[in-house]
């Protein structure tokens, strides 16, 4: 038997004549953590779907536990012990934890009658595999993403999984939850279960993985031990270009604050929040999920009404009752969830970019010439180098980074004083991430006041000249320029 659990050589797959995978080699050692890394659209998901049997390969060889496998179907993959935990987790949010855990094995066993006791037994057995404790009768939809993930892992273990594939499991997790997840991953490793980890967060990859396989444009660019790689090499392999990590230094900060928040409270969300923001500053707001940071941002954008306290803009007291009002007061907001809150995916790129500036583009009585929309949009497409040949195409044709650039240009084409960015680079690959950061630096130096709300501590450290840490709805600490390090922030969060 070979030293590998799963070995894939010369895998090719093309869609509509376009090579998604071009002679890719990939191997997993039993009981190890391998990380599959690469920018969006590099072929990571295609490779995973071939392993799990969703797609069939065009060329190449797959060996699992020394046996050559010609054709994998999803059912066979499960039988072999390959389990995939997708980003959406494939759970039933309206069922209980117990039902979610037991349902698959019940179906495979062909059970026709419901037996609560047997279900409970199956569920307990699943939880015991990683020593995880949770209310079996809790509704799945009410759990946090982290808990949902652990339940999904337990469910995978019920099938005697030998290889568990996790598709970007840390995207929606906070630092603490990521640590808990990694603990579980190490536990699984001890049980000789191999974990394949898909991610593009550099820090996490170096923390958890033994081996790493980096892909770019459907090709292998690196495969080997993680320890042999420096962080610089890693990003270079991912993006194909050298990246610079310039820390943001504010160049022209205004004397008077543009935004003042005084004792702002909304019960159940945040309490007694006060801060000031000057033009030219980038203020970071960080904290665990549920710390009230998103609610605070929504209040500043007129989508959640604060109970008490005051918001002052340019020295004048302001009531922000709606996004329309916020726009009038020159506040822009780039929402947390790009796909549901930021974009009309099945509409042209241009129409998305100009959505908030139709008033400016239209004549009297709201009369609009569509040519003006495309003219205006083209300016932003060129300025941000949004990767499209035609802004008439749907926004859904773009990658995450380019989509985020659309949402940004939507607000920047307005005359703004304050720009609030909530998770500006979630699901954005390293290259586009740097473009966006660079852009925000320039905007701030041109006199825009920026708030970045983020989980990604390295992002906060690199881009903010001041950081507010929130905890349970309160501001639990503020850090200024030179003291901003990940350790200092973590200390306050914990």
């Amino acid at each position: 038997m070979s030293e590998y659990l799963l070995e894939m050589t010369g895998i090719c797959k093309s869609f509509a004549g376009v090579h998604a995978l071009d002679h890719v080699n990939f191997a997993v050692r039993p009981g190890s953590v391998i990380c599959l890394a690469g920018e969006n659209g590099c072929g990571k998901s295609t490779l995973v779907k071939i392993i799990s049997g969703v797609y069939t390969k065009d060329e190449g060889e797959v060996t699992f536990e020394g046996h050559k496998i010609d054709k994998i179907t999803p059912a066979e993959a499960t039988k072999l012990g390959i389990q995939v935990i997708y980003q959406d987790l494939s759970i039933f949010p309206n069922l209980t934890v117990m039902e979610n855990l037991a349902i698959n094995s019940e179906i495979t066993a062909g059970q026709k009658v419901v037996n609560r006791k047997r279900w409970e037994k199956t569920a307990r057995e699943a939880l015991s595999k990683i020593g995880y404790d949770i209310d079996l009768y809790a509704k799945m939809g009410d759990l946090s993403v982290a808990d949902k993930q652990l339940v999904a892992i337990c469910r995978a273990l019920l099938f005697n999984a030998k290889l568990i594939i996790m598709d970007e499991p840390t995207t929606a997790l906070t630092k603490k939850e990521v640590d808990a997840l990694f603990k579980t991953v190490r536990q699984l490793k001890e049980k000789n279960i191999a974990i394949m980890f898909i991610s593009h967060k550099t820090e996490e990859i170096f923390e958890i993985s033994d081996d790493v396989c980096i892909m770019r444009n459907g090709k292998n660019v690196y495969a080997g031990k993680t320890a042999d790689l420096t962080r610089e090499d890693f990003t270079y392999h991912m993006t194909g270009r050298k990246l610079t990590n310039d820390k943001f230094v504010p160049k022209n900060v205004s004397k008077e604050p543009v935004l003042e928040v005084k004792d702002l409270s909304l019960k159940g969300a945040y309490e007694n929040v006060s801060f000031e923001l000057r033009k030219g500053e980038i203020l970071g707001i960080t904290g665990l999920l549920g710390s009230g940071r998103t609610e605070l941002a929504l209040s500043l954008f007129g989508l959640m009404k604060p109970k008490s306290g005051e918001i002052r803009l340019n020295g004048k007291s302001a009531t922000i009752s709606s996004p329309m009002e916020a726009q009038r007061l020159k506040i822009g907001y780039v929402p947390e969830d790009r796909l549901t809150e930021g974009l009309c995916l099945r509409q042209p790129i241009a129409d998305n970019i100009t959505l908030s500036s139709l008033k400016r583009l239209s004549g009297k009585f709201g009369i609009l010439n569509h040519k003006d929309i495309y003219k205006d949009a083209q300016i932003w497409v060129d300025k941000f180098s949004i990767a499209t040949d035609d802004p008439h195409k749907y926004a859904s044709t773009l990658s995450g980074g380019n989509q985020q650039k659309i949402v940004l240009s939507k607000w920047l084409s307005n005359d703004l004083d304050v720009l609030i960015l909530n998770g500006p680079t979630v699901g954005v690959d390293v290259g586009a991430k740097q473009d966006i950061h660079q852009l925000v630096h320039e905007l701030a130096n041109d006199g825009l006041a920026v708030i970045i709300i983020s989980d990604d501590l390295s992002e906060v450290v690199q881009n903010c000249n001041r950081v507010i840490v929130m905890k349970d709805g309160h501001i639990s600490g503020e850090i200024g320029s030179d003291d901003i390090t990940e350790d200092n922030i973590l200390e306050i969060i914990r």
């Binding site: 709606s322 996004p323 329309m324 930021g342 908030s356 139709l358 008033k359 609009l368």
Partner: protein
């Protein structure tokens, strides 16, 4: 021209369907189908439901549906006719009667604005799913109409009303068609040349993202329900001129017919999509089928529901197959892939 159809495949498809329908009735009915009375009859009929369809199109594009427009239109027509009947008599001059009729139509429009506003409030402020809210409102309006008339037709309209309804504008355009043309031009202008139209498509695609883009989605959806109701009430007032009366259930067959037309035109209540030219072609196709079928002596009006229901089902199956993950869509993808390889 060729370029236009390459970009608008669905429009091309509708035109082919239109040609096929025309061919079918020409072959089966011959010259009878192309008679002058047949054509003018069609031009008198389709403006009624054509107007209603245009209104409903706005609702569909915004991602909403209105099931109450027929009941509301009937109710408004009953009130308007009652008003006109009560304020006119044989001794009045045509000018005076015309004034009263104008006020009557204005009343119908005002009731439309009110009814649409209620629909909009139910959907946007109380967050009731549009189908449920408007079905409930439909029952309410129908209830008012029935209670008010005991189910009888309201008659006694001055002759002038139907005379105008049957007159020609500029000597050759039937009056209802003239109203429809105006309504069509306004609708096309609203959709294509105003910020309202632009925002409507965006709201229909993703209302949440529109809200986050500082668009007053609630106001615009209420406005859309109002536009829908006003169009359909005007359609019902055209119907009053054909029938010379108003009744609680006159337009009831139009509910399904209008939905059928929109689905045929590729406008689904999912929202975000709809081309007004396609809607126009679909209206014409449905009118031709409706008139053509009536020419067969074997088929009487008792089959109407069956025919429209069956058609709606077929169109729904075909349209889901052609879009999204449907069979034809997949086939098209495969074909494109094959072409790409070569």
């Amino acid at each position: 021209m060729k370029n236009y159809f390459a970009k608008n495949k669905y429009t091309a498809l509708l035109l082919i369907l239109l040609a096929a329908v025309l061919l079918f009735f020409t072959v089966t009915q011959g010259s009878k189908f192309w008679s002058a009375s047949m054509l003018s009859g069609m031009c008198m009929q389709f403006p009624e439901f054509g107007m209603i369809t245009l209104g409903l199109m706005f609702c569909f594009i915004s991602g909403n549906i209105d099931m109450s427009f027929v009941a509301l239109g009937d109710f408004a027509a009953i009130i308007a006719v009652k008003y006109i009947v009560a304020h006119t008599n044989d001794t009045m001059s045509n000018g005076a009667i015309g004034g009263v009729i104008f006020v009557g139509i204005l009343i119908s429009v005002l009731i439309g604005i009110f009814g649409g506003f209620i629909n909009g409030i139910l959907v946007t402020m109380l967050n009731i799913p549009p189908v449920m809210a408007t079905i409930a409102m439909s029952l309410v309006w129908q209830g008012f109409s029935t209670a008010l008339t005991r189910g009888d037709a309201v008659t006694g309209l001055p002759m002038l009303y139907s005379e105008v309804g049957h007159s020609n504008v500029l000597g050759f355009i039937p009056f209802p068609l003239f109203i429809f043309i105006i309504g069509f031009v306004i609708a096309a202008f609203l959709l294509k040349c105003t910020t309202y139209g632009e925002k409507l498509y965006m709201i229909g695609t993703n209302a949440k993202a529109a809200k986050f883009s500082a668009i007053n989605t609630k106001f615009l959806i209420i406005l859309t329900f109002i536009i829908c109701a006003v169009y359909s009430n005007l359609g019902c007032m055209i119907m009053v001129s054909t029938m010379s009366s108003a009744k609680a259930d006159y337009g009831s067959s139009y509910l399904m017919r209008c939905i059928l037309i929109l689905v045929l035109a590729g406008v689904l209540p999912d929202g975000g999509y709809g081309k007004i030219m396609d809607v126009l072609f679909a209206i014409v196709i449905v009118q031709i089928i409706s008139s053509g079928v009536n020419m067969f002596p074997q088929i009487n009006t008792y089959y109407a529901s069956l025919i429209w229901g069956g058609l709606l089902l077929i169109v729904l199956i075909l349209s889901t197959k052609m879009t999204g993950d449907g069979f034809f869509a997949k086939k098209a993808v495969k074909k494109a892939a094959a072409a790409n390889k070569n």
